[in-house]
C-alpha cells in the first residue's frame, strides 16, 4: 500500500518532468540520462530558488540511490542538511546499506518505460517487478513532495507554481 501510494504520487512529478512537453529531447534518450536529468533538475531547483531550497533542502538529511538490478546504471541524490547534491553513479558507495533509500529498477528499459510513459503505472511496474524499493519510505514521500513542487515550478502541471 504505502509504497504504491508514494510511487504513484512521486512519479506524477517524475513523469511530468520527464514526459512533459518542456523537454521533448528527453524522450527516447537513455534511461540514465533521464534519471540524471531529473536529479539535475532538482539540483538546479534547489540552487536557483531560495524558496525551493528553504522548503525542501534546509535541514533535510537523506541519501537516495537509484540503480538498476545489475548496477550498470546508477544515480544518486544527497541532502546533507544544507545542500542538495545529485550525480551519476553511486558516489563511490556501492553498498546499499550506505543509503537511506535505494530504488532498484529491474533494467534500463524499465526506467525509461516508467519515466517516459505519459502516465506511468507504478502499480504495474511493481507487480511486474520492474522496480523495488529498500529503505525508509518516508524519505521517498518527501522526495515525492519535492518533485511535485518542482513540477509545479516548471509549469509542468495544472495549477502551476504555488
Amino acid at each position: 500500500m504505502t509504497l504504491v501510494d508514494w510511487l504513484d504520487r512521486a512519479d506524477r512529478g517524475l513523469g511530468a518532468v520527464l514526459a512533459g512537453r518542456q523537454i521533448p529531447a528527453a524522450r527516447g534518450a537513455a534511461a540514465q540520462a533521464c534519471l540524471g536529468l531529473l536529479l539535475r533538475g532538482l539540483e538546479a531547483g534547489a540552487c536557483a530558488s531560495e524558496s525551493f531550497h528553504r522548503r525542501h533542502v534546509r535541514g533535510a538529511r537523506a541519501r537516495f540511490l537509484f540503480r538498476t538490478e545489475d548496477r550498470a546504471l546508477a544515480s544518486h541524490l544527497v541532502l546533507d542538511g544544507a545542500e542538495l547534491r545529485a550525480g551519476v553513479g553511486d558516489d563511490g558507495r556501492p553498498d546499499d546499506a550506505e543509503w537511506d533509500v535505494v530504488v532498484v529498477f529491474r533494467d534500463a528499459s524499465s526506467i525509461s518505460r516508467l519515466l517516459l510513459s505519459g502516465s506511468p503505472d507504478v502499480v504495474l511496474a511493481l507487480v511486474r517487478r520492474q522496480l523495488r524499493v529498500r529503505g525508509n519510505l518516508a524519505l521517498l514521500y518527501k522526495l515525492g513532495f519535492m518533485l511535485f513542487d518542482l513540477g509545479g515550478r516548471l509549469g509542468l502541471r495544472p495549477g502551476g507554481a504555488p
Binding site: T2, R9, R129
Partner: protein, 841 residues
C-alpha cells in the same frame, strides 16, 4: 416480559410515523455538503509533546508514558461545543453561527468535518500530494498553504524515523523487509495504519463511570506486583482521568457559552449540554442522553489514540435500552426526543474521514471509517434481544441514510420475531443499501468453533465491515491482513514465481503440467497458502511487536474487558479474547479456477496445462473456444458438487493454514471473506484466470459468486447457505443485488428469501451467515451518474460497507452496476385479482 414497555407493538408502529425534525434536516444537509478539512490539532500537539518528552527517537515507549502524553493532549485540545465554521462544497467557508446547536459537544477533530492525521502511522503517505489534496479528483480534502508548510517542515520530518512502518522496517531484517513493503500485489498489512478494529466495552463505562474505574486502577496499582503492572494500572488511571477531563472541559466550555448566549432557548440548550458532559462519562449514566454523551466522549478519546479504521460501537440497542426505558417511564423523553438524539449521534460519529492517499482509493474506495453499529439478535442467555430501541435506531438509520455508521442487523431465526426481519428488509428497501443482515445461528456456531463461550459468542457485535466480534472483550483486529488469493493461485500455477518469472517468491511446487492429477495441484496450492500464511502472520506479528513497543494503547485498554483484570495492555494480550483476522479476497474466482483446472486439465484433459498457461499469458487472445469452455466449468455458488467440493476444501485449507497459527498476543488467526474495494483494485492488476476471467476484470466481491456465473437466486442462496460456517470465523460479505419493484409484496418476499437463506434445512446445512443487499433501480443510478450533484446522498453497498455513489471510482461503479441483478418481481407481476365471490346482498 410481555409487559415491557419496549416491546409494545403500538409504540413500535408509532415510530414509523416519526420524521426528521427540521433541526436535523439542516444539520444533515450541512454534513453532506461539508468538504473534509485536514485538522492540524492532533499532529501539532502530539509532535510538540512527543518532542518535548524525547519520545521520538525511542525504541520503547512505556504504556504510562503514552498515557501521560495522551492525557496532556486531552487537557490541551480545544474543547469544541459547536464548530464555528464549515467548508461547504461549491460555497467555501461559511459561518455556523446561528445554525442549530448539536445535542452532543465534542468532536474528533477541530474541523466540522475533519481529516485527523496520525503521523505515527500513515499520515506521511500524504506527503507527496499535500499540495494536491484540495484538487485531487477523488475525495479532495481542504488544506491551507500554511498547514502544508507546517506539515512539510515541522511535523512530518519529526516522524520520518519514528513511525510504525519505519520502525518495523528497521527491525525486519533483509528477509522480511521486502515482504513488509514490496508485495502489495499479494497482501496488505493494516497494522501499518493502527489497530482500531474492535468494540470498546461501553457497558462498563455506562454502568460504573470512569472515575470509579480510575479508582479501581488506583487500588489495583497499590496491590500490583512488578513495575510493568504498576505502570499499566497507573496508565489506565491516567487515561481514564484524561477522558474525564476532556468531558469536563467540554462541559465548562458549554457553560461559558451559555453565559454569553443572549437567546434563551439556546442558552437552555447549552446548559443541558454542560450538565450532560459534567456527569458523563465520569459518573455512571442515568439517562439516555448521558449514555450517548458518555459513549461519544470516550469515542473522542479513543480516536485520539488510534486512527479510525473500523472502530465499532457495538450493540447500542442493548447498551442503552435500560437508560431509554427509565427515561420513558419517568417521562423524561419520548420517541421523538430519543430519535433526535440518535440522529445527532449519527452525525457526530461521521464528523471525520480517514486520510487516504490517492492510490488507496483503488483498495478502499470511498470508505468512511466503517464504524459498525449492531442491532437486534439474542442476549447472552439466548433470549430475544430486539426492543423498541433496536427499531428506533433502525428508523434513525433509514431516515438519515448516511455512510457512517455502518449499521448491521442481527436476526436469530426462531427466536427473533419475523416482524423484526421484515422491518430490516423494509429499511433495506427504503435505503437501497443498509443494514446488512447477520444470521445469529450461523455466526454463533462459527464463533464457538473458535473457542468463544456460548454467552460470549451470543454477545457479538459487528466490527468494521462484517466481522462478528464478542463486544467489549475481544481484541480481534479482524482486518490485520488482506490477502489476494488470486495471486496465491498464480504462485501455484507458476511454480512459486509471479507470472513474468523473476525470483522465487513462494515455494517451488513444480510444474503443474507434470502433476499426476488434480490432487497434486491442490497440494501445490495448499503449500503456497501455507507459505503465505507463514509470511503474513510473521509480518503481522512483527508489526504487533512494534505496536507493543512504541504504540501501547492505554485509552482503549481503559474501557475494555481484560486489561484491568489481567494487568496487561491490549497490545500485549490484555483482552479477554485475542485474535487477528485475515480477509481473503478473490475466493469465488479461485474456486472457479480450481474447478476448471480439475475438469479440463486433469480429468477430461480437454486442454493441456502448457496450452492453458500460454492462453492465460495471452489473456485468451485467439483462445475464445478454450475460454468459453473453461467458463462453463462448475461455478462457485451453484449446486454442482465439483464446485461445492472445491469451495469447501479451499475454505478449510485457509482456515487450517491461518487458524492453526497463534499471534503475538496469544490469540488465533481467523479468516473472513470481505473485500472493501480491493476486489476491483487487485482485479485490475491480475492476469487471466483458468475460470475464463479476463485480465484486469474485477474479482467477485466478498464471498459472492462471480457476477453472471449463477443467474438463479435460489441456486446461489442455496449454495451459499451450505458453506461450512465453522471455517468462516471472521465474517463474510455476501452481496445480493435486486432490482426492486414497488409492489407491496417486495418486503415480505425479501424477508421470506432471507429467512429461507438463513434456514438450516433441518440440519442439512449451516444456513447462510450474512447477506447484504443492493437494491438499485437502474433509472435511479443512471440519473445519479448523470447528475451527481442532485444525488449526494445516494448510498450503495460496496462490499461490507456502504458508500456514496458519487465518491466511487468509475471502475467500482461499473462493478456494482454489472453485478448480477435478481428481480424481486418479474416485469409482469402476479396479476390483478377481483373477487367474484360473496355475492350475497
Amino acid at each position: 416480559m410481555s409487559t415491557d414497555l419496549l416491546l409494545d407493538p403500538v409504540r413500535l408502529g408509532r415510530l414509523e410515523q416519526i420524521d426528521l425534525p427540521p433541526r436535523i434536516v439542516r444539520l444533515r444537509e450541512l454534513h453532506l455538503r461539508a468538504v473534509p478539512e485536514v485538522c492540524m490539532e492532533r499532529p501539532r500537539l502530539l509532535t510538540r509533546l512527543a518532542r518535548e518528552r524525547s519520545l521520538l527517537d525511542r525504541t520503547r515507549i512505556s504504556v504510562l508514558e503514552q498515557a501521560r502524553l495522551y492525557r496532556e493532549v486531552l487537557e490541551s485540545r480545544e474543547p469544541v461545543v459547536a464548530h464555528a465554521a464549515a467548508w461547504l462544497e461549491g460555497t467555501g467557508e461559511v459561518s455556523l453561527r446561528g445554525e442549530p446547536l448539536p445535542l452532543l459537544a465534542g468532536s474528533t477533530t477541530s474541523r466540522f468535518k475533519g481529516v485527523p492525521l496520525y503521523p505515527e502511522f500513515l499520515a506521511l503517505t500524504l506527503w507527496p500530494e499535500l499540495e494536491e489534496l484540495p484538487r485531487r479528483r477523488s475525495n479532495p480534502y481542504r488544506i491551507r498553504p500554511a498547514e502544508v508548510d507546517e506539515l512539510n517542515h515541522d511535523i512530518f520530518p519529526s516522524w520520518i524515523r519514528a513511525h510504525v512502518a519505519e520502525v518495523a522496517r528497521a527491525r525486519a531484517g533483509a528477509s522480511l523487509e521486502d515482504g513488509l513493503l514490496g508485495h502489495v500485489d499479494l497482501y496488505l498489512l493494516s497494522k501499518l495504519s493502527c489497530i482500531s478494529h474492535t468494540i470498546p466495552d461501553f457497558g462498563r463505562v455506562l454502568r460504573r463511570g470512569l472515575l470509579d474505574l480510575a479508582e479501581e486502577a488506583r487500588q489495583r496499582c497499590r496491590r500490583a506486583r512488578g513495575a510493568d503492572r504498576r505502570d499499566l494500572y497507573s496508565a489506565l488511571e491516567e487515561a481514564l482521568l484524561g477522558t474525564v477531563a476532556w468531558g469536563h472541559r467540554l462541559s465548562a466550555e458549554a457553560r461559558a457559552m451559555a453565559e454569553r448566549e443572549p437567546d434563551a432557548a439556546r442558552r437552555a440548550g447549552l446548559r443541558a449540554l454542560a450538565e450532560a458532559h459534567q456527569r458523563a462519562p465520569a459518573e455512571p449514566a442515568r439517562t439516555f442522553r448521558e449514555g450517548l454523551t458518555a459513549i461519544w466522549t470516550c469515542w473522542n478519546a479513543v480516536l485520539l489514540e488510534n486512527a479510525n479504521y473500523g472502530l465499532s460501537l457495538g450493540r447500542l440497542d442493548q447498551l442503552l435500552a435500560d437508560l431509554y426505558r427509565a427515561d420513558l417511564e419517568a417521562g423524561r423523553i419520548d420517541q421523538e426526543g430519543a430519535l433526535e438524539l440518535v440522529c445527532d449521534f449519527w452525525l457526530k460519529v461521521g464528523d471525520h474521514v480517514p486520510g487516504v492517499p490517492g492510490t488507496g482509493e483503488a483498495f478502499f474506495g470511498a470508505t468512511g471509517s466503517n464504524q459498525a453499529v449492531t442491532l437486534g439478535g439474542v442476549d447472552a442467555e439466548g433470549r430475544c434481544a430486539v426492543n423498541e430501541l433496536s427499531h428506533l435506531l433502525l428508523r434513525a438509520t433509514e431516515l438519515m441514510r448516511l455512510r457512517d455508521p455502518n449499521v448491521n442487523a442481527r436476526y436469530h431465526p426462531g427466536v427473533n420475531p419475523p416482524a423484526w426481519l421484515r422491518r430490516i428488509c423494509r429499511a433495506n428497501l427504503r435505503t437501497g443499501a443498509t443494514p446488512a443482515i447477520h444470521n445469529d445461528r450461523a455466526v454463533v456456531r462459527a464463533m464457538t468453533a473458535r473457542g468463544e463461550t456460548l454467552a460470549q459468542a451470543r454477545d457479538y457485535g459487528i466490527v468494521g465491515c462484517v466481522e462478528p466480534t464478542s463486544a467489549g472483550r475481544a481484541y480481534g483486529h479482524s482486518a490485520a491482513i488482506l490477502v489476494n488469493l488470486v495471486s496465491v493461485l498464480d504462485l501455484a500455477l507458476f511454480r512459486g514465481t509471479r507470472r513474468d518469472g523473476g525470483q522465487l517468491l513462494g515455494v517451488d511446487t513444480g510444474d503443474p503440467g507434470g502433476f499426476a492429477g488434480f490432487g497434486a495441484f491442490r497440494e501445490a496450492l495448499s503449500a503456497q497458502i501455507d507459505w503465505l500464511a507463514a509470511r503474513t502472520t510473521a509480518l503481522n506479528d512483527l508489526l504487533g511487536a512494534v505496536h507493543q513497543d512504541i504504540h501501547p494503547t492505554p485509552i482503549l485498554s481503559s474501557i475494555f474487558e481484560g486489561p484491568m483484570e489481567q494487568g496487561l495492555d491490549l497490545s500485549r494480550g490484555g483482552a479477554t479474547i485475542n485474535g487477528s483476522g485475515v480477509a481473503v479476497v478473490g475466493l469465488a474466482d479461485v474456486v472457479d479456477s480450481l474447478s476448471a483446472l480439475q475438469i479440463h486439465v486433469y480429468e477430461r484433459r480437454t486442454v493441456g496445462f502448457d496450452a492453458l498457461r500460454e492462453a492465460l499469458l495471452r489473456d485468451f487472445a485467439g483462445d475464445a473456444v478454450l475460454r468459453a469452455m473453461l467458463a462453463r466449468s462448475p461455478r462457485f455458488g451453484s449446486d454442482d458438487p465439483v464446485a461445492r467440493e472445491n469451495a469447501t476444501w479451499l475454505l478449510g485449507e485457509l482456515d487450517r493454514a491461518f487458524g492453526s497459527r497463534i499471534n503475538y498476543r496469544g490469540g488465533r488467526y481467523r479468516v473472513g471473506y470481505w473485500t472493501m474495494t480491493t476486489h476491483v483494485g487487485w482485479g485490475s492488476l491480475a492476469g487471466a484466470l483458468p475460470s475464463g476471467r479476463r485480465a484486469g476484470a474485477p474479482f467477485a466481491s466478498g464471498i459472492t459468486p462471480v457476477s453472471g456465473a449463477v443467474p438463479c437466486l435460489a441456486t446461489s442462496l442455496g449454495a451459499m447457505a451450505g458453506l461450512p460456517a465453522e471455517a468462516i470465523t471472521s465474517g463474510m460479505a455476501h452481496n445480493v443485488k435486486f432490482t426492486p419493484s414497488s409492489r407491496a409484496r417486495s418486503e415480505a418476499d425479501l424477508a421470506a428469501t432471507v429467512e429461507a437463506y438463513f434456514d438450516d434445512d433441518d440440519g442439512r446445512r449451516n444456513g447462510g451467515m450474512e447477506v447484504q443487499f443492493t437494491l438499485l433501480r437502474p433509472e435511479a443510478v443512471a440519473d445519479a451518474l448523470a447528475h451527481p450533484e442532485r444525488h449526494g446522498d445516494l448510498l450503495v453497498r460496496v462490499s461490507g460497507y456502504t458508500a456514496y455513489l458519487r465518491d466511487l471510482s468509475p471502475a467500482m461503479r461499473r462493478e456494482i452496476l454489472e453485478r448480477t441483478a435478481f428481480a424481486l418481481a418479474s416485469e409482469g407481476g402476479e396479476g390483478f385479482t377481483l373477487s367474484l365471490g360473496e355475492v350475497q346482498a
